[in-house]
């Protein structure tokens, strides 16, 4: 029992369940999932579906944070990816052609990859702090996306493209399947090989890992590439879901939500140990929070207040200094090792 309670995903999971259960008081049919026209419908499915872009971005962010970095440009990369795909599809003579859509998707992902390489090179080769290095693309990227679309919202009517964000396969939303596949592939690649350990080593101590013969430079660039591609896919899901490219709305402030999801999942921002499952759980938790405020009927924007409270509580619970201060009162003074004395 204590093993379960002490698991680092225990409290996020409890919060998620509490959030979901609290919905029942306002919407009695919250937990009912119905099968209509071979599609699953229900609020729980909505929670999962709306969590998909965030889950992908948070997955990529986890790897970057594990290397001790941070990626603020994910929202801009989402906007660029959606804009490129919609522009390409809009220029097709037949918007319904599967080949054309695949080409558009490929093009968007290649561009995302380039964005990731740019970030990675700035951080690991030129040696700029991650917050600032990715700030450049965050500022300029949205400008580039707006330049591409001419400041307009590009609408597309392409059934194959629509499948990515709004389609169903085997009664399950395609976007959820995409996320599941990406997460599974990432877990397999990262946890079943030495890659995860190497990334953790780089994040925990860049100097020690270099002395141990780990090529941290390549690993760091790969982490940023992975984050950018994840953001690219998220951008495709987002723009496919609304069948348009909106360079202002796509991925707006998602970098903050993604960082929040990663922190909720128990990955420390200082780098080192990371938890992919935790980040996905965090993303679902944030999505559930959004939907809960909606069902309860409070204005959607007040979720920001909830998020602020959640961030504060989580950060304090992760802070060793705070725990020391709290537990010092509970134990007898003699046993407690002196807490780090702040000047």
């Amino acid at each position: 029992m204590t093993a379960i309670v002490k698991h680092r995903l225990f409290w996020p999971a409890v919060v998620l369940v509490l959030l979901l259960v609290s919905n029942v008081f306002f919407a009695p049919r919250f937990f009912t999932i119905t099968l209509q026209d071979g599609h699953l419908y229900g609020s729980l499915i909505d929670v999962l579906r709306s969590a998909t872009p965030l889950a992908l971005v948070a997955l990529g962010m986890t790897m970057v944070i594990a290397t001790g970095g941070i990626d603020l440009s994910v929202g801009s990369v989402m906007a660029i990816s959606g804009a490129v795909a919609c522009l390409f599809i809009g220029d097709l003579s037949d918007q319904g052609s599967v080949g054309g859509v695949l080409l558009a998707v490929g093009l968007a992902l290649v561009l995302s990859l380039v964005a990731g390489i740019w970030n990675g090179v700035l951080v690991s080769v030129i040696g700029i702090q991650p917050i600032i290095a990715t700030l450049i693309l965050m500022v300029a990227g949205r400008g580039i996306a707006q330049l591409l679309t001419g400041g307009q919202i590009i609408n597309v009517s392409s059934p194959p493209f629509r499948v990515i964000g709004a389609g169903y396969a085997l009664a399950i939303p395609v976007s959820v399947i995409i996320v599941a596949v990406v997460v599974a592939a990432a877990v397999l690649l990262i946890r079943r090989s030495a890659l995860g350990v190497l990334v953790e080593a780089v994040g925990a101590s860049p100097t020690a890992s270099r002395l141990a013969g780990i090529r941290s430079r390549g690993l760091t660039i790969m982490a940023y590439m992975f984050a950018a591609v994840c953001a690219g896919i998220a951008g495709l899901i987002f723009s496919s879901n609304v069948a348009s490219a909106d360079s202002n709305a796509a991925g707006n402030l998602i970098e903050l939500d993604a960082i929040l999801a990663v922190v909720i999942g128990g990955t420390a921002l200082t780098g080192g140990r990371f938890s992919i499952a935790g980040s996905v759980l965090g993303a679902v938790l944030i999505s559930a929070l959004d939907i809960t405020t909606y069902t309860i009927g409070v204005p959607a924007e007040t979720t920001l207040l909830f998020k602020a409270v959640v961030v504060v509580i989580l950060c304090l619970s992760q802070s060793a200094a705070f725990r020391a201060a709290v537990f010092r009162r509970r134990r007898t003074p003699a046993v407690t090792p002196a807490a780090e004395v702040p000047a």
Binding site: I131, L135, V139, L269, L316, A325
Partner: protein, 337 residues
Amino acid sequence: MTDVKAPPQPAVTVAAPHKRRRLDRRHIPVLATLALLALMYGLGVANYDNFSDTQVLLNVFVDNAFLLVVAAGMTFVILTGGIDLSVGAVVALTTVVAATLLNDGWPAALVLPLVLLIGTTLGLGMGLVIHYFKVEPFIATLAGMFLARGLSLLINRNSIPITDPFWTAMAQERIRFGPGIFISTSVVIALVVVLAGAFVLAYTRFGRTVYAIGGNADSALLMGLPVGRTRIAVYTISGFLSALGGVLLSFYMLSGYSLHAQGMELDAIAAVVIGGVILTGGSGYLFGTVLGVLVLGLIQTILTFQGTLSSWWTRIVVGILLFAFIVLQRLVTRRAR
């Protein structure tokens, strides 16, 4: 290093100084910004009619007075090696609270200190959390950003017009130097803030501690400097100046809106970086930040004069400048080591 007036150099000092008077490395980024500013201004004058009017330059100040104040606060934070993401949200909260209270009939003499106090308290709170609980500045101020933005949305989701006589008087008051040449009161306030800030950074014990923490916090602690107090004070100053920036913005806009100043934290950080403040802390000048704000303002002015270029070019140009200046910073600091 015995020169008391100059802020201390970043941790590593250059051994065996050359007798020959050379360009001080710390000045290179600021001089680069100055050159860029002169270049941009020259281009503007050469290409557009009426660009050389004195008022065009003064309008850059008038339109960016609030950003100047906010960026001054950000300079203090970045000099200690921290970052404050909450400034834009605090600005928005200030405008919303001020507008709401004024519409409820509160006197301006009460509203003004109150909103400044709210911003200062938020800054103090973040500083306390950052110092005592050793939470990353990035995350603590992120929470502050969510909190302030959420609070302002909770108070009112719509734009609230301000009709208070004091506010409108401050908005319309112009200090004239001649026919068609004027500045607003906000510019005066912003310049006072900058001068006071520059004085504090250069000539007070507190200012030198700020540089010392940015250079190396551990060394500063071992030297017996009040690291904790200074670090908390820096975030408090940033909170106060954000609230003051919010007041200036509400003078400028004559409205309170929870979506005011979106992304202003990025503008402020960009201005500080372009102004040559080293992001790891410990080196840079408030004067550079003023130049950074002027560069951002001139970009917008040039785009307005050009007329055919869309506003999103601003973002792209700012991104390119950020990149250029950060790379320059790396080169300067690397050569110093």
